[in-house]
Each structure stands twice: as structure tokens, then as C-alpha cells.
Amino acid sequence: MMPDLGKYAFAVLSSYGVTIVLLSVIVLASVRRARKVRAALDEIENRRGK
Amino acid sequence: MRALLIRDLMLAIRAGGGFGLGLAFFLIVTVLVPFGVGPQTELLSRIAPGILWIGALLACLLSLDRILALDWEDGSLDLLATAPLPMEGIVTIKALAHWITTGLPLVLAAPVLGVLLSLPIPAYQWVVISLAVGTPALSVIGTFGAALTVGIKRGGLLMSLLVLPLYVPTLIFGAEVARRGAEGLTVQSPLLLLAGISFGVMALLPFASAAVLRINLR
């Protein structure tokens, strides 16, 4: 399955690795903060609603 | 306006800071470089024009937070804002005072410090000319940075970070003039570009600085 990367394996793999890590970090951070802020807002709105 | 300029100059001389600080820092950088990279003359004279420019730029960068921060802290800026001076005038005067107390001494000191770095003879005039043309731009851009960060608690750091990329074009053309001068090449086009930046920046940036300062004061 794994393609033959030849002597450049390190460069290619680390590029993909860095990209995947960074993209995941920014996505996860965004999603987590979105959840947190949403929860905080919901709490206040519900309290107000009651 | 004249009163403001005179006060700023007086303060710079008397309270230290402004006047000596830039010059001292310039001196420090140039003196340290041979200790750091080693004493070989040939190497030093190759990097001399660049180091002089970097030293001048750092000296400017460091004295920036005196432009507005001190006046902010002791309340003078509030009072100036209620005084009958246009904000554009205030920031221009501040930039001018900064140039006189920092940029001008740097220009004058550069040839002397050039000796310490074995600056090639033909380079002297071009280092001085390029600094004379370029440092006003540094002061004006720096005033914009200072206005942007006045009143922010972590101002100093943030200001350096914001101003640094804005300084890059000036540094590139300025150092290019000095370096080409050192090698005896023609310097016309970088010098024109440098002058262009200086004038453009002086004509336009004070408006941005004034706007930013007004926002920050409210």
C-alpha cells in the first residue's frame, strides 16, 4: 500500500505529518472553544429564560 | 506646537532616555559585534554596513516607547488631547522630536562607529546618506506603532512586534544603499526607493497615527 518514497521519505512524511497535526490543532481548538462558548451562552440564556 | 517640540527635546536631554539611549544602544551593538563574531577585519568590513543599519534600527525601536507612553502614564496625553492642537500635529511633532533626539545623533555617530567595524572607505558617505534619508521613516513608522499600543499594558513587546515588519522595507533599501556603496556599485535605484518610502510615509502615516491615537484615548 505504502508508496515508495525513496530517499525523500523523511521530507514527504514530515510535511504531511506537520500539516495534519497543525490542521487538527486548529480545527480541534476551534471546535472546542466553540463548544465551550456555546455552553456558557446556553447556560445564561436558560437561566434568563427561567 | 513649537512648545511641544521644545518640551520633548528638553525632556529627552534632561531625563536621559531619548537622547542618549538611542546613541548608547547603537554604540553597544557595534561594540558587541566584534566580540561576538570574532575580530577578523575582512569579515567585519563585509558586514559593517548592514550592522550599522541594524544597530540604528534597533536603537530607534527601543526609544519608541518613550514617544507616547510616558505622556500617557502621567496624564499629559489626556491634557494634550483637550488642548487646541490637532492630533495630526501632535503625532508629527512627536515623530520629529524622536528623529531629532534619536535619528539625527545616529546619523552623526555612524561614521565614528564605522571605524570600529572597519567599514570600507567608500562606504562612509553612503552609510551616512542612507541613514539620513531612512531614519525619518523609522521615526514616523515608530510613532504609528507607539500610537497603536499606547495604554496597553504589554505595550513595549507588542509594539516591537508590530513595528518590526513595517520596518523591513526601509531596512532593505537602506542597507542595500550602504552595501552597494561599500562595494562601489551604483546606488541610485535603492536610494530613490528609500527616499520614496520616507516621503510617502511622512505624508500619509501621521493621519493613521492620529486616528489610532484618538481611538486609544477614548
Binding site: - | R2, A3, L4, I6, R7, M10, L11, R14, A15, E73, D74, G75, S76, D78, L79, L80, A81, T82, A83, P84, L85, L217, R218
Partner: protein, 204 residues
């Protein structure tokens, strides 16, 4: 020359502080703002002086008429008393600083650096600055802090003279200013109900 404040609301740090403040200040009149710590006197005065845009309401007649003196004096420690005063005088286009020095009993200290003054002397210098602005409306935030009785009397005298010359004064204080004739406005009733600022209303 009348300063007139109508239905003013001010905010600080994103919170509404005061609302519905209205008052007029005629020539020759002094108005003292009172209220507990943190009610918003400083914030109100800054709005009137034009340093901070009010959230609601209007301030008319203030433009270029106001000399403001806040909690800090705007003095440069490394300039002498006369140099400090002369600077502010020339910013406002005046030249005479002698009468201000005399009025606040600073003649003996004239060549002292401002940084080497005692707390009360600094304050006197800060107040003397008002006299070299030539502005008709004085807006003062706790002007008599650190002043001894004699200096408070000097201050009261200076304000009275200013009023007689057709000026007016708006002051916040907790202590006696020696100005019995001044009108007093207590800010406590104007405390803002907890609410968001206007600019946040789009988000509600």
C-alpha cells in the same frame, strides 16, 4: 457660555456606569459632583471633557472650552515648576505664568524640579496649570487631594476669581472644597441599571 449635559450615559470597561445624567452649568457657576467611590465621577468628567465618547446623550458647549485636570497631574518630573507651567501656557497660546505661580504660592518653588516636590506641592502645580489655559470651563477630578487647609483656601480663592471672571467649574470630590456657594449634584441616583452597552445590543 453654557455647558449643558443632557441625558448622558457613560460606560467603562464594557459596563454601563451612569445613565440619565443631565445638568447645566452657566457662566459664573460652580457645580460639585458627589457620590461614593466607584460611582463613576471620573468617567463622567472624562466624557464631559471629550476624552471618552458618551454612550448616549449629548454634551453641548464643551468643544474647546474645557481645561481638564484628572487624578494624575501631567507633570514632568525632570522639568522645573516654571518649565512645566510655561509649556502648558504656550500649548494654549498664553505666555503669562506669574499670576498662576502667585495664586498657588509656588513662587518659592519656581526653579525646583517637579519630581522633587511633595505630594501637595505637586497638586498645587497641577492646579496652577488651569490658570494658564485661558479656558472658561474647568473640569476637575478631586482637585484638593493632598492639599493642606491653606492650600485648599488658595484653591477656593482661585476658583472664585475664575467664576467672577465669567468662568465656570465642574468638580468631583469627596472632601470639602471651601466653596460653599457651589451647587452640589449627587450622582448616586443615576447609577445605571445593569445592562449591556448599546454597541453590544446587536448581540442580544
Amino acid at each position: 457660555m453654557i455647558l449643558s449635559v443632557r441625558d448622558l450615559a457613560v460606560t467603562r470597561g464594557g459596563l454601563a456606569i451612569l445613565e440619565g445624567v443631565s445638568f447645566d452649568l452657566a457662566a459664573g457657576e460652580a457645580l460639585v459632583l458627589r457620590g461614593p467611590n466607584g460611582i463613576g465621577k471620573t468617567t463622567l468628567l472624562r466624557s464631559v471633557a471629550g476624552l471618552q465618547p458618551p454612550e448616549q446623550g449629548t454634551v453641548t458647549g464643551a468643544e474647546d472650552q474645557i481645561a481638564y485636570a484628572g487624578h494624575s497631574d501631567g507633570l514632568k518630573a525632570m522639568l522645573s515648576v516654571t518649565e512645566n507651567l510655561r509649556f502648558w501656557a504656550s500649548v494654549f497660546g498664553l505666555t503669562d505664568i506669574e499670576s498662576a505661580l502667585v495664586a498657588f504660592d509656588l513662587t518659592e518653588l519656581r526653579s525646583r524640579m517637579a519630581g522633587a516636590l511633595s505630594a501637595g506641592q505637586k497638586r498645587r502645580l497641577g492646579l496652577a496649570r488651569l490658570m494658564v489655559t485661558g479656558r472658561p470651563i474647568w473640569v476637575l477630578d478631586e482637585p484638593t487631594v493632598s492639599l493642606d487647609a491653606a492650600s485648599v483656601a488658595l484653591f477656593a480663592e482661585a476658583v472664585r476669581t475664575h467664576l467672577q471672571q465669567g468662568g465656570s467649574a465642574l468638580m468631583a470630590t469627596h472632601i470639602d472644597l471651601g466653596l460653599e456657594e457651589a451647587r452640589v449634584l449627587d450622582l448616586t441616583p443615576f447609577k445605571a441599571a445593569p445592562r449591556a452597552r448599546q454597541m453590544d445590543e446587536a448581540f442580544l
